[in-house]
Symmetry: none
Subunit: 223 residues, 2 copies
DNA sequence: GCGCGGATGACAGCTTGATGACAGCTTTGC
DNA sequence: GCAAAGCTGTCATCAAGCTGTCATCCGCGC
């Protein structure tokens, strides 16, 4: 984890750097806004510690610029001011946290850990198969890059087939997956219907639903 | 955005709930650890505000349990203690932030905005999308440059849709985000109502709320 | 060729969503 | 405190389009 410390008071910056270094962070120090910009442009950081009082301007401008540019690196602001307005202002301008000087180094360390912690693993429900791009959580379907709309039943069927890709699914099992008890009297023909409708929408995706007579259906790569 | 407030002092909890409600958050209050667990098991929250001193135990246990269980919901800890050890301890146990009592309600609000914003992958409160310009902290909305007034619920809905832009949000999820438990008996038709009202206000913004029958709604660029 | 399982187009019913009007309640301004 | 304004949510009505049935056609395997 690499951290950028934007702070012009050498003592503070070096103390922080040493302390964070011991905690496993690699730190770069930037004593001016210009240095900070140069560093941030060259490499990415897991987080930025930003003093607001700098010799060549206010850290707020730096923060605002980065956010406007779409940069989401977590920023922890250091401030000498106590007023609630200032704190609220900093947070609303895009800071993720702040610390009032003088601060305890252990606390800086803990806060940076909290900020950088949530970088890791987001559960992805997305499946990409040849020209097919299906995201179960967003219920979105793309075929060859183009968004395709599908109804609830169609998506449910697709979901089932994808989850069992490469395996033959009997109509009974598909039926069980698509309909609850209250729909038990729906004709089995319905499955065939939805397979047909899905096939039409998956046209040209490189993925095909094969028919296996007397056995069921299987989704797999085309060809 | 739905928030769980775990706090046994009724005054504090209700003041926070009222203040956050005005800011567009839907709040549930849990006065005990048992209540908190029950709530958290039943529904998901955008963030949890957690007092450490509770009648049936320490909030730390609750926090630790949730993290062990793999839950990453942002947690903001309320504490009466000043010691650095306590603060560091809370952060390292998985809290994302803390506030020392007594705290300013505006600050709680700003910190929760920062926490939920980060979760939604945003670095600042302001979002500009085509002709739509929305600022969550100022609760202000502009369409094609012109200021548009919108009510709290409308803004809350918009905020939710923007945070999940591009994905289909089921009415249930939108409902959970807009209403807490005390409003559980509100008809689901209400969502449709607010979608209609929002659509009217977003007219000509280049952003549209698409209906996906049986699935939910999705906010995306028009076209 | 025949039989059976599967494919598919059309359609009617019905669930789901849209929307205008209204009553209750909250907030705001005085 | 009071009154007015505005926000909220319910209801009823209307529109849309998803669903599943039916009938018919296709094609594989025997």
């Amino acid at each position: 984890m690499r951290i950028l410390i934007v702070e012009d008071t050498t003592d503070v910056a070096e103390a922080a750097s040493a302390s964070l270094g011991r905690a496993g962070f690699a730190c770069d120090i930037a004593p001016t806004l210009a240095d900070a910009r140069a560093c941030a442009d060259v490499t990415g950081y897991a987080a930025i510690v930003l003093d607001l009082n700098l010799p060549d301007g206010s850290g707020r401008d730096f923060l605002r610029d980065r956010r406007r540019a779409g940069d989401r690196t977590p920023v922890l602001v250091l401030t000498a001011q106590f007023s609630v307005e200032d704190r609220v202002g900093a947070l609303d301008e895009g800071a993720d946290d702040y610390l009032v000087k003088p601060f305890d180094l252990r606390e800086l360390e803990a806060r940076l850990r909290a900020l950088t912690r949530r970088e890791a693993g987001r559960a992805e429900n997305r499946v990409v198969l040849a020209g097919l791009d299906f995201d179960a959580s967003a219920q979105s379907l793309r075929v060859g890059g183009a968004a395709v709309t599908a109804t609830r039943r169609e998506l449910a069927l697709l979901n089932l087939l994808i989850a069992n890709r490469g395996r033959i699914m009997s109509k009974d099992r598909l039926f069980d997956g698509l309909f609850g008890f209250e729909n038990a009297d729906v004709g089995t023909n319905t499955i065939e219907l939805y397979v047909a409708r899905l096939r039409k929408k998956l046209m040209g995706s490189g993925v095909a639903i094969e028919t296996h007579r007397g056995l069921g259906y299987r989704l797999d790569l085309d060809g």
